[in-house]
Symmetry: C2
């Protein structure tokens, strides 16, 4: 049923609307809805429906939906939950393609409500209707225009930020709050219980709106992780998406049997998913909308070098701190930039970055200095700081610099400091779509997100030019299938796991069973010395405890002697007769030990972890995550965002390790787990990485099936 | 000259003021100053001074300060810089004890200005006058009242937050901005160039103000680190101090020769100083004042368990996330709490935490549920979320819950969501001194800081009850003095460093020079096997390169044989004859390796570092800092805030290490560096910590003198 967004067109551009539950009574939500639809200046036809009949604002109230004349593309229901099913059938019979159920009283109230909700879905599916809600605030589009919510007026200012939300209360708050923050909304969708239409379904039609420049999401989860990534990735190539994902600490812990499982919470999966899809994750509501404004109104910067223009020292220092905290760089001004500034400013002004024009700075100086900074090729964006200049008004400065900002191809944001004394300036900037923030810290964060977005656009255009598809030779899915099909238990044996890795071309130390000292020597010579010997017996589980393991045997003599020693130890200590033979295993020289693991995330599928290995993985937390299947860019990102990965380049007296081998193994491992989702957890720890050109070996592996 | 704050009394409670530079001309700052002093309803006597004479607002303008009648405790100068010296002399002759120089044109303009500033200081010192400024906005007290700034009206609302600032522009912005944020100021001091009075001088008199409940600081540095800590520690026992310290990335890197030096930036020192003094560090301006309100208006919570009361699910989830992010806990509601809530709320309401009363929640329900939550002994603070309830006004809810909040002994903060629809509620809460924030995230952060403050108060009252002074036996400063006095070079030799550590009772592996195989065996027997042998020769610097080192010699035979081998290796490989003998060193068994280091911070003195040792210290960054001399609480804090320290308790198959030995060594090390500030850098890496009861050994140490 849930297919492409085009089926949602009737919802987003209805030719006619039926308001079911329209009411005369101003205390009823149905009154508010009818009022909003009419007052929002909607250009289509509006029909009211209420079994009581009558008329409202000179329009007839039809007693049921079947009587409503054409055209009706959308019905909005605000009626008691028990009445919804019957009205849905009427809508279906009437051929209405989209229905918003605003009413509560469904899944959120318990099992009976959940059952009712499912019955509604069945009716909708029977008639191929799409349902939004139930238990939602509805939908609005400030440009169509249409306000199909029941909220108290005034509705939002028209703007370019779209908001899609799992919470109705937050929709109501954001509509009201946005007005005070000086930005407008384009489209807003409240999704409610999502019995049918979910956050992913509406992404594409919302993004298709030409007035929408940024999409903001309040998410309590996603309905289908893979589909979300797919849809979002397409959209972020054109328009930025910012998500506030909550419910961080909500989910119970799964049973896990690996370090990867312990570290890979739902949040790592969401972060990896957002990274893959180019979705920007905000940590707070205010941050999301701070960023939305700069993303909607500023061009992308060409890099991270920022100039700060101020009329006072303190705010300038605060700004530099904040910029560096957010990973931006203070630009170095070119000589001729400084020369040009010097001609304009008093001798005590600071011509370095931050450029401090001093408290006497006039609107004309603000404008001229800003123009000079924007011409410096080493400056990629500018943060203008505006505490009210003592001798001028902030409003006059705003009027002077807005034309300069509009003429620029580089982003400029403004930190306005104060309240009453800056009010006029605030209004000028908002009207001119120049992002303004209180204090420099939030302005710095808004510039940083512009740089992040610009880098993402560069990265995806590069990866479209050069295909990052990697051909991995020597992959044998059939081999893995054969191993897995025979498994009886959830926990896989070391031997099975090693064979699985080998089938995907991941090196494990060569090893084989020797039944005699002679065979052991032959194997050792084949693998190369040194080797280890481990007793193999169905009756011995803890080999070391019975003296059943010898390591670092470096020649024929040692292997011959060792075979007998281990055999005797095992016989005398464990008192068993049933000894199959001796595992001969090549010993791998020292190197850099890392961990590579995967867990299958319920939402997003295989989530790959890379980082510092050993037993302290969970405490060091030097790990990064990405969703399989990995591409080369993602592997690079994983490596470079951990110390374990950066160290592979070499560090002090540690020689460079075989980084290429790690990349190859990560790609193979990712492919393996994508091919076999029944491998719910699998972890190589340690993966020993030898010096450059010498490869990497999976020294230990653990894993389990569903 | 710079002594206690009592000398500043004339500044903070002047009986009479001379405004020097008072002007008729509204475009002059001297006009603004005269206006503010008069209009602020100051109860003392105000005199105007200007060489031009005349009168202003019916008061005479004296042509110079000497003519001003009694009483005059404070002169405020807003005159051109070149005229300041002469007026200062007049002030001195007139016996005026305190002067604010608002004028610019001093150090901030270059060397000539700096010279002028110093000359002003000399005049002030000659007359025992205290100087505030120059280049500052001045001072105000909303309760005295007195506005001695030249800023445009309106001045700040009276309130309970004091603000001390190194930046005048930020003062101006904060005065204006505070009004819009709904909090008032008590005292504000703009410090300017601080030629005399600095941030530490004004701490005590500002804190002494009975109207001041919280002190906020905008700092670009501190003038004397140790004195700042001393003064601030005394004040934070009574009133909270919040500091925004900027200039984080400003300072150039010092030359360093240790890991400690590389990691111990100015910021680590400031963080350690703030920790020691109980000063709360804010990261942004908004955060500082968000916190100031909750600290000024709320009682301290008894713990970190918080209940969330909401009328909608989404904001509740957002709040839980934010609370957990800030280290608070979602309280578990007691059975009878849930029962009481059940009786009040509709069946679909959520009786778990967050308590979701649903959108129908009335003002009475808000009040009753809040009262129930506050009675639950497991709940230590409450976050009330208030998106405008669809059927009621937020203002009505505010009116209903304010009496409940006022009656409570537990802190309650409110997250109001929206703008126009919540305006009335905002005003009610502000008037009632209930901290309110937009969106739950900032409210959660304000609750977290209350918990932090409460924990600090508990900690200091505990440490006052039980003296944390530790007696360290076997400390021999004389021994260290003798070693240091002989040093020619900055870099200390391994041997000197080991003797220094030994003098302070820090174990180093026993070692001594053997001139013959026999002596080597005697030493080995005395130290205990195994031992290492290292050739000693003035001509050999890289011992290993010439085969001059043998390790793990575990019996007499090995030592005798080893002595000859090393001797021969050294002779043949290095071709030198001058071999003093052989260093015999006890070998320390494996253990947990940590790093302990100190650098002398220019501001704060010895800054001790503890953490994960080895060569990757700077990359792992698993370190913590504290300022010497350390007390036991600080040592515990250092250990527990690093993985290296937590691991000492044991981890998986790693046995517990001798944590007591580490604590003892940290205390001794801290004492050493406090006693000998000329040791500018000293670092033990690794300090090997053996299993419980077996001690810890400084395996390697490096250090240098000034």
């Amino acid at each position: 049923m849930k297919t492409s967004g085009t089926l949602l067109l009737p919802l987003f551009a209805p030719r006619g609307i039926a308001v079911v539950g329209a009411s005369h009574d101003p205390t009823k939500l149905g009154y508010g809805l009818a009022r909003n639809v009419v007052q929002s200046n909607y250009q289509g036809v509006v029909h009211f429906v209420n079994p009581k009949g009558g008329s409202l604002w000179g329009r007839p109230i039809y007693s049921d939906v079947t009587q409503v004349p054409d055209p009706v593309d959308l019905a909005i229901l605000l009626i008691p939950a028990p009445a919804v099913k019957e009205v849905l059938v009427d809508c279906g019979e009437r051929g209405i393609p989209a229905v918003i159920i605003g009413s509560g009283g469904f899944r959120e109230t318990g099992p009976d409500g959940a059952k009712l909700e499912q019955e509604c879905l069945q009716i909708a599916q029977h008639y191929s209707m799409r349902l939004v809600g139930p238990n939602c605030i509805g939908f609005l589009d400030t440009h169509l225009p249409l306000d199909a919510t029941f909220l108290s007026p005034p509705g939002p200012t028209p703007g370019d930020v779209a908001f899609i939300s799992h919470s109705g209360a937050i929709c109501a708050a954001v509509i009201d709050w946005a007005r005070g923050q000086g930005f407008g909304l384009s489209r807003l969708v409240s999704l409610g219980n999502q019995v049918d239409v979910n956050e992913t379904d509406v992404l594409k039609p919302v993004a298709a709106d030409p007035f929408t420049r940024v999409i903001t999401l309040y998410l309590e989860g996603v309905s289908n992780g893979r589909r979300f990534i797919q849809e979002a990735s397409r959209i972020t190539q054109e328009k930025p998406i910012i998500a506030l994902k909550v419910g961080r600490f909500a989910s119970g812990r799964r049973a896990v049997s690996s370090h990867t499982g312990a570290l890979a919470g739902q949040e790592s999966a969401f972060n990896a998913a957002f990274h893959k899809a180019g979705v920007i994750r905000a940590e707070t509501s205010e941050e999301m909308f701070d960023w939305a404004r700069s993303l909607a109104w500023c061009p992308p910067p060409e890099g991270r070098s920022v100039a700060v223009l101020t009329n006072a020292g303190g705010p300038g220092v605060t700004a530099s701190d904040a910029l560096e905290t957010h990973g931006l760089k203070m630009a170095e001004l070119q000589e001729n930039t400084q020369e040009a500034l010097r001609r304009l400013l008093p001798p005590a002004a600071s011509l370095h970055n931050p450029v401090d024009m001093l408290a006497s700075a006039s609107p004309e100086q603000y404008a001229a200095c800003l123009r000079i900074l924007l011409e410096d090729p080493g400056i990629q964006s500018v943060l203008v700081i505006l505490p009210p200049p003592p001798m001028f008004t902030a409003g006059a400065v705003a009027r002077a610099i807005i034309p300069v900002i509009h003429a620029a191809v580089k982003p400029v944001v403004v930190a306005l400091m104060g309240e009453r004394l800056i009010q006029e300036a605030v209004e000028h900037f908002r009207a001119a779509h120049v992002p303004e923030y209180r204090f420099p810290e939030r302005a710095a964060s808004a510039l940083a997100v512009l740089a992040q977005r610009a880098e993402y656009l560069t990265r995806i255009s590069a990866s479209q030019a050069i295909s990052t598809q990697v051909i991995l030779p020597n992959i044998n899915p059939q081999g893995v299938k054969e191993i897995l099909v025979k498994q009886q238990k959830s926990v896989l044996s070391q031997e099975s796991l090693q064979r699985i890795l080998e089938a995907y071309g991941i090196p494990v130390p060569p090893q084989a069973l020797a039944r005699s000292p002679k065979e052991a020597v032959d194997l050792a010579q084949r693998f190369g010395y040194p080797v280890a010997l481990k007793v193999v017996s169905p009756d011995i589980s803890h080999k070391s405890d019975v003296g059943g393991v010898l390591i670092s045997l470096s020649d024929e003599q040692a292997v011959l002697h060792g075979f007998d020693t281990v055999m005797e130890n095992a016989r005398t200590t464990s008192k068993v007769a049933n000894i199959t033979g001796m595992q001969v295993q090549k010993m791998i020289p020292p190197g850099q030990d890392v961990i590579v693991g995967v867990v299958q995330d319920l939402q997003f599928g295989p989530l790959v972890m890379f980082g510092s290995g050993g037993v302290e993985v969970e405490e060091l937390k030097d790990v990064s995550f990405a969703l399989a299947p990995l591409n080369l860019e993602e592997v690079e990102y994983m490596l470079e965002s951990t110390w374990a990965g950066r160290k592979l380049h070499g560090y002090r007296n540690l020689p460079p390790a075989d980084r290429q081998a790690v990349i190859d193994i990560l790609l193979r491992f990712s492919r393996l787990t994508a091919d076999f989702p029944e491998l719910v957890e699998i972890e190589i720890n340690p993966l020993r990485v030898l010096p450059e050109g010498k490869g990497a070996w999976a020294l230990d592996v653990r894993g389990r099936l569903v």
